[in-house]
Structures are given as structure tokens and as C-alpha cells.
């Protein structure tokens, strides 16, 4: 992760170091060029330019680094403040001595150069030059006089004569060159010490002009071999129209002395003139060295500070990362094994340990969650309601069965007092009273039966509670476990009733036939023998006996039917056809019975005899319920619930309907609102329907009257094949 910045940093270091080295070399060469200007002088300006450009680059590099430092400082990047402080400290430590050295160097340099040139030396040099001039002037005057004499010695008035004597003149005087010119500048004769030279050294126009105007010329001229020459130009006083030029060599001793003085003077004068430039050059070189030192020191300060602070920065960032929850943060180890390296490795060890602990914790949490889910699933799958309360009676947890049994979303009430259940539903008051009473009385364990009276009927709960212990004897709450045993109790009661009915039928039915026979025999034997009056009494009495015995028989048969163990003869039965057949028997009844067939072609698997008994019982009940208006309606329809098809048969009447208080118990034995009857009719219906795998319930429709609805499972394959057009209604579940 940190490899790329590290590489970049290494490249920066190499680049900066190379730049500094190159600049140092360049400065060294500049110094050499200043000292040996003849050999290296031509490199001076290029080196200067290179150094300036290099310094500009170094300046940019330093500026970039400082800018980065400043930017990090403003952004409060970790470690930037320490870096800035260290950089400033290093910079000050480096700059102060460099500045002091620079200041005094420039002063010493300036005063040192000034000391080269003082008034005494100036004056001495001027005096030496003047002395040389005076000496040379003396020599020049002698030579001028000699030259004038030379021309005067030629007595011939012709130019030719003069021209012919130039060799003699040169030989006589030891001159280097003797030349004769006309006034117009034309060369008339030349005599040179070197016979190969045929042309005279030409005087410049100023000299000729001076001589022509009447004033002789004498001056110094450089010779070919570097030796000084005295040039004399004289005009002929004898009006021969010629100008004589003679070049005398200055005596060697004098020439050397004069040359020496002249050279020294020239060097001194030039240096004196260049004093400011020399100072400037030295100051420039020194300034370049200073700038190199300053920039180099600045760059090194920033770099060193950053490098020193880097591990601390890493640790700061690492700490922040750990604080934010990134426990797997690992820091790059510094290359140098010092205290900071130890700190970084300790930090890495710490984060590793934290990460391991976190992983273990995460694992534990995951296991706990798994166990919790497992427990939830198990509890959710239980048909027994389970509820946990804390010590204060607040609901901690509950399972789905608790919701279903209590008819309230108990799980949504977690954290609330259990008494809230009583406020939400009055029917749950006995339950709440039992629980709260137990809590208040300090009863921590027990088992009891609670009966709830709800809109749907009586509900019997088998209730147990026990303390919730998390350790040995350390109770933190209570566990409530309850089962809905309503159906179980009902089934037990039904079974008991069945047994009673069976015994009653058995015990009563046997003596009934002898009673009836005896009564009929009495009537038959004594009716004719008695007086009419007595006969009437006997007839009425025996008739009553027989009638009551018949009634008792009927009742006993009902009991027998109810108690009889079922032996169903199941066969496929087309529902609508079967219903039509039953209804046909009631054509002459007091009330019209109407058929609304809604399951054409639908077949169920049923015992036709038992099912017919069911329909007769229901129709009988409906006829007995009466109701002057409207017919009794028998309807059928097809429905589906949870993927299972069923057929629903309803018998509706226009009577007063069921007593709302008894409607839920209408199918229990001996529950009736009629004055006559055994009260077993609907109980038998329920039993037969249950034997067929169906359910039955009674209801009072809003339009009035009463309705009994029974639901029987359909034969699936038959339904699909034979009744594609059958109306299929989704079960609303509200019957």
C-alpha cells in the first residue's frame, strides 16, 4: 500500500541530491573559471546560466515541498504540525550560520578588493608611468633631432639624391626603417633592416597632416617583435617636397623597463576600473553558493522532518483508524530500527490482538445469534404459548403461539407490563389477574387452569409458570407457559356425553318395549270388557303410555345414534344431485324448501346415509324454527382454502335465528332453545360432519334468520375433471 509513495519519495531524494551535486560542481567550475579565465573563461557564462536555472528548479522544488507542508498544516493532516515545527527548527538552525558566514564573507571580500587599490599605489603607478614617459620623451627628442640632422646632411636639392641616401641614413643611425614620402604621401624610397620588406610602415593620416602643416611628429609605435619603436616624421626644410620617416628601435634595456611599467600599469588600471565588476562577480558567486545552501538546507529540513515524523503520522492515522473500528490496520515498519520502529511494531501487535479479540467476539455473537434463532424457531414452532417476564412483570419475549392463543400481538408489546394485556382485551383479565396475582404474592411456580370468556366462546388455558433462572437460584424473571385446551376439554366432554347416552339408551330402551306391549295388551284385554266410561279412560291412558313410550324410544334412538360408533360407508357422492334428492322429500312440507345449486358435477366422498341424516336434522331444525316469510334455502358452493378444495353446504331459514349467547355452543348436546327435542340434533350433525373430515358452524346472517354452514372436503381429481365451470369462491373464513 505504501510502496508507491515510498518509491516516489526515493525518486525525489535522488533527483534533489543529483540537482544539488550538479549545482555544487557548477559552482566549483565557476570558481575555477574565475581563477583561470584564460582556459575556462568561455565556460563562465554558460555555467552561470546553468547554475541559475538549477537554482530556480531547486527553488521550485523547495517551494513545492513547503507548499505541501503548509497545505497539510491547514488541513490538519496528522503529523503536519510536528513536521512544520521540526522543519522550521532545522531551517533556522541551518540558516543562521549560513547567513552569518555570507554577511561577513561579503564584507571581507569587499574590503579585501578595496585594499588592492589605494591612493598610494595609484600615485606610485602614475609616477612610474610618468617617469617612463619622461625618459622616453628624452629619447624621442634625441631621435627627432637626429632625424632632422639626417635630412639636413643631404645637400643635394633633388628628391632623387635624398632617395638614394636612405640606406646610408639607416646604416648611420641604426634605424629599423627609413622611408621617404612625397608631400602627397607617395613613397619615394624605403630602406628596412629586413631587406625582404619593401613597403614602409604607413603613418596614419593624422601624422602626415601634422608634418605637412609644419610640425614634425615623434611618437612610439609597436614593433613586429613587440619591441618599442620611435617613429619620427620630419619635413624637409630645404623645400625639396619630401617627408622623412625613420623608425628607431628603443634601446632594449629601456624598452623592457618601459614595457614592464606599461604592462603593470595597464593591469592595475584595468583592475581598478573593474573594481565594482569584480566585487559584483564575487558577490554573485557567493550569493549563488548562499542560495544553494539555503535551498538545499530548506529542502533537507522539510525532508528530514517529514521522514522523522512519518512513523508518528502513521501511528496517529492508525490510532484514528482503530478508533473508527478498523482493527486490522497495520502500519509500515520504518527502515531504521529505533524507538519509533519499536512503537510502530508494538502498535501493529496491539491491532493484531484487538482484531483477534474482535473476531472471537464476532464469532461468539454469531453463535449466540444462531442459538437465539434456533430457540426462536423452536418456540415459534411450538403450539404452546410461551412468554418470559422480567422481575417487574414486563414482557421480555413471547412466541407466535402466545399471540394466537391470547389473540393479541404479544410480541409487539415486549418491554411493557403484562397488565397491558388486560387493558387491550377484557377477555384476558382472568389471565392477567392470575399472572399479576402470582407476581404480587410472590408465587413463583404453579400450575392452574384459566377459563377465558371470549366473543368466540369459552377458552380454557392450561397455565404454568416458573421462575426464570440464569444461575444457581438467581431469578431474573418468570416464564409463563400456557396451552389452549378448549378443544381437548370439549372432546372429553363429548366423549363423556357419548358414554352417558349409550348407557341411557341401553338402560331405558330395554324396558320400553315391554311397557308398550303391556299397555297395548291391557287396552286390548280390558277395553271391551269395561264400561264405556272406564273404557275411555283406559283407552286414553294406554294411548298416552304408548305415545310417551314412542317418544322415549325416539329419544333413546337419538341417544343411540349419538353414541353409536361410526362405521362410514364412503362413496363418491355428487353434491347437488344428492341435495336435490333430499329436498324432494320436503315438497309437501309446511314451508317451501329451495335449492341453490352452486357445485354442479362436484363430487365428495361421503356416507350417503349419514349425510342424509345430517340434512334431515338440519331441515327439521329449519322447519321447526319456522318463519312465515320466504322459503328455506339449501345452497352449495365450491371454495378453496390453503390449496385444498372444499364444498360448502348451507341451510338458511327465516326464523328468529340462534340465540347469540348460545350460538357458539349450539352443537353441544342438550343445548337448545326449543321446548321440545332432545337437543342432540345439531350435536349429531357436528359429529357426522367431523367424521367426514369437515367442520360446521352456525351463524345469524344480517338479513335475518339462522344459517348452518357445513364444509366438507372435495375430491380433488373429480373436481378438476368434472366441474371446470363450477363457481369457485375464495374462502373468506368468516362463516
Amino acid at each position: 500500500m505504501a510502496a508507491a509513495p515510498m518509491k516516489q519519495r526515493r525518486f525525489d531524494v535522488v533527483a534533489a541530491a543529483m540537482l544539488v551535486m550538479l549545482l555544487l560542481a557548477s559552482l566549483h567550475l565557476i570558481s575555477a573559471a574565475v581563477q583561470r579565465s584564460e582556459e575556462l573563461g568561455q565556460w563562465f557564462i554558460p555555467l552561470l546560466l546553468f547554475t541559475v536555472v538549477g537554482l530556480v528548479m531547486l527553488f521550485v522544488l523547495v517551494g513545492w515541498n513547503l507548499w505541501q507542508l503548509l497545505r497539510d498544516y491547514r488541513r490538519r493532516v496528522a503529523g503536519s504540525r510536528l513536521s512544520a515545527r521540526l522543519s522550521a527548527l532545522f531551517l533556522v538552525i541551518a540558516l543562521v550560520p549560513v547567513g552569518v558566514v555570507y554577511f561577513y564573507s561579503t564584507r571581507f571580500l569587499s574590503s579585501g578588493i578595496d585594499s588592492w587599490f589605494d591612493l598610494q599605489v595609484d600615485s606610485a603607478m602614475e609616477d612610474a608611468l610618468s617617469l617612463s614617459k619622461v625618459s622616453l620623451d628624452l629619447h624621442k627628442r634625441e631621435r627627432l633631432k637626429l632625424t632632422q640632422n639626417l635630412l639636413a646632411t643631404v645637400e643635394d636639392t633633388s628628391q632623387t639624391a635624398v632617395a638614394l641616401s636612405v640606406d646610408d641614413m639607416r646604416n648611420a643611425t641604426g634605424a629599423n626603417e627609413v622611408a621617404l614620402f612625397s608631400l602627397q604621401g607617395k613613397v619615394l624610397a624605403v630602406s628596412h633592416a629586413n631587406p625582404e620588406i619593401m613597403l614602409p610602415t604607413p603613418p596614419d593620416s593624422g601624422m602626415v597632416q601634422q608634418v605637412v602643416s609644419g610640425e614634425n611628429y615623434v611618437g612610439i609605435a609597436p614593433g613586429q617583435d613587440g619591441r618599442l619603436l620611435v617613429r619620427c616624421l620630419v619635413q624637409d626644410k630645404q623645400q625639396r617636397g619630401v617627408v622623412l620617416q625613420v623608425l628607431y628601435p628603443v634601446p632594449e634595456s629601456l624598452s623592457e623597463l618601459i614595457q614592464s611599467v606599461q604592462d603593470a600599469y595597464e593591469v592595475y588600471r584595468t583592475r581598478a576600473y573593474m573594481r565594482s565588476q569584480i566585487k559584483f562577480s564575487f558577490a554573485l558567486s557567493l550569493s549563488l553558493v548562499l542560495l544553494l545552501s539555503v535551498f538545499g538546507a530548506a529542502w533537507a529540513a522539510v525532508y528530514t522532518a517529514r521522514r522523522l515524523v512519518q512513523p508518528i503520522t502513521d501511528i496517529a492515522e492508525g490510532t484514528r483508524a482503530v478508533a473508527e473500528g478498523h482493527y486490522d490496520k497495520q502500519l509500515p515498519l520504518p527502515q531504521v530500527k529505533d524507538e519509533l520502529g519499536f512503537l510502530v511494531s508494538s502498535f501493529n501487535a496491539m491491532t493484531r490482538r484487538i482484531a483477534r479479540s474482535r473476531n472471537a467476539l464476532e464469532e461468539s455473537r454469531r453463535k449466540l445469534q444462531t442459538q437465539h434463532n434456533y430457540l426462536e424457531t423452536v418456540l415459534g414452532g411450538l403450539s404452546t404459548g410461551v412468554m418470559a417476564l422480567d422481575a417487574e412483570g414486563r414482557i421480555q419475549t413471547a412466541n407466535r403461539a402466545a399471540d394466537q392463543i391470547l389473540g393479541l400481538p404479544v410480541r409487539e408489546l415486549e418491554g411493557k407490563d403484562v397488565r397491558v394485556l388486560g387493558m387491550r382485551s377484557d377477555a384476558l383479565s382472568p389471565f392477567v389477574e392470575r399472572v399479576a396475582g402470582g407476581l404480587e404474592q410472590g408465587i413463583h411456580q404453579g400450575r392452574s387452569e384459566i377459563t377465558l370468556y371470549r366473543g368466540g366462546g369459552r377458552q380454557v388455558l392450561l397455565f404454568r409458570h416458573s421462575p426464570l433462572e440464569i444461575g444457581r437460584g438467581l431469578a431474573v424473571g418468570h416464564v409463563l407457559v400456557f396451552d389452549d385446551v378448549t378443544e381437548l376439554v370439549k372432546a372429553q366432554r363429548d366423549a363423556a356425553w357419548g358414554e352417558v347416552a349409550r348407557r341411557l339408551a341401553h338402560e331405558i330402551k330395554n324396558p320400553l318395549t315391554p311397557i308398550q306391549l303391556s299397555a297395548e295388551r291391557l287396552r286390548h284385554k280390558f277395553l271391551r270388557k269395561m264400561a264405556p266410561e272406564d273404557g275411555k279412560v283406559l283407552d286414553r291412558a294406554t294411548h298416552t303410555i304408548v305415545q310417551q313410550v314412542e317418544a322415549m324410544k325416539s329419544m333413546v334412538n337419538d341417544f343411540s345414534d349419538y353414541a353409536k360408533p361410526s362405521k362410514l360407508q364412503l362413496e363418491p357422492l355428487p353434491v347437488d344431485a344428492f341435495l336435490s334428492e333430499v329436498i324432494a322429500l320436503y315438497e309437501g312440507a309446511a314451508q317451501q324448501v329451495v335449492m341453490q345449486a352452486g357445485a354442479p358435477g362436484l363430487t365428495i366422498e361421503a356416507d350417503p346415509v349419514r349425510l342424509r341424516q345430517v340434512m334431515h336434522n338440519l331441515l327439521k331444525n329449519a322447519l321447526e324454527a319456522g318463519g312465515a316469510d320466504g322459503p328455506i334455502v339449501v345452497s352449495s358452493r365450491v371454495g378453496e382454502e390453503e390449496g385444498n378444495d372444499f364444498v360448502e353446504i348451507a341451510v338458511s331459514d327465516n326464523g328468529p335465528g340462534f340465540d347469540p349467547e348460545l350460538i357458539t355452543q349450539a352443537f353441544e348436546p342438550y343445548v337448545t332453545n326449543k321446548t321440545k327435542g332432545t337437543g342432540l340434533g345439531l350435536a349429531i350433525v357436528k359429529r357426522i360432519v367431523a367424521e367426514h373430515g369437515g367442520v360446521v358452524h352456525a351463524e345469524n346472517p344480517v338479513e335475518g334468520g339462522g344459517r348452518v354452514v357445513l364444509r366438507l372436503p372435495a375430491m380433488a381429481q373429480v373436481l378438476v375433471r368434472t366441474a371446470p365451470e363450477a363457481p369457485r369462491l375464495a374462502d373468506k373464513g368468516g362463516h
Binding site: 557564462i45 614617459k133 593624422g206 601624422m207
Partner: protein, 185 residues
Amino acid sequence: MKRITRTIAGLILFCLPVVLQAEEVNLRNVSLTLSEDGRILLDADIGFDLNDTVAEALENGVPLTFETHVQMRRADAWIWESDVVEHRLRTVLLHRPLSGMYELRNLSGSEHLSFATRDAALRTLGNIVAMPVIERSRLNLDEDYLVRIEVHLDIESLPLPMRPLAYLQRDWWISSEPWEWRLRP
């Protein structure tokens, strides 16, 4: 190397906010003539007008090197094509304190000339007579050539301490406007 140095220094100076002028050397009466022996000869009259700074340096013994650059190349030559002719005539002018004379030294020919006055020395310096440029036979007669002449004071020949400041002072940038002539030999 000198050319490169001059170019770089020139580029730097180009950026300076100083208006540089080159009016102190004037090329006058420049002419190219064909001699009887088939050589192309250059005649020129160059006028020098030294400013006070340069004159002061000369009077104080600083030698001044003037370079006359004669260049001939094909008129439609590519930039990288070498010159047909390139002459650099370098002459040093210096003042002798003892004699009070001005000297001209031809660096190529070690020729010494003395002059009593600076003007006389400058006149001689600026007087180019029949300087051979090239033989006509070496040129392609169907082609045009550009002849370019430029005269300048060579800062690089000044004493070393003077060079940095000389590059930065306009007084030392003495040069002529380049003289160009299209030639069909």
C-alpha cells in the same frame, strides 16, 4: 559555444524590460564585387560610435573585440543546412597608456596597427577593402544566395569579471543591424 552562450543570454535578456537598441554600429556602402580572377570581394565601410561606458572601459585598458560575421548560404536553404561561406573577422582595439596610442590587432593575422586617435583607429577598423568572400566557380550559377553581414562587440572576450554585468547592461550590446543581400552569381 559562444554562439550558444549568446543565444541563451539573448533569450534571457529578451525577457528583461529593457529596450535594447543596436544603432552604434552602422554598415555603410557595403558592396560585393567580382574580381578579375573570379573571386567575390567584399567592400564595406562600417561606422562605429562608442558610447561613454564602452569608451571609458577602452580608455582604462579594457581590450574591445569586434567581430565581423560574413555569412553566405543558399537562398532557399533549410535551416539545418550548413553555410556556403562563414568568415569571422575578429579585431581587438586597445589603448596604450604610455604612448597614448590606440592599437588594432587582427587576431587571425597578428597584425599590429597604431593610431594616434581613437577615431582614426575606428575608421581603419571599419574600412574593409576587397575582402575575399568566395570564388565564383564554387557557387551554383543557377541559384540565389543570401549574403549576410553583421558586426558586433564580443562580450565573451571582455575580462571575465565584466561579463555578467556586460550581459545585463544595454551599453555593452553593440551590434549592427544585419545587412542582407540576395546574390545571383
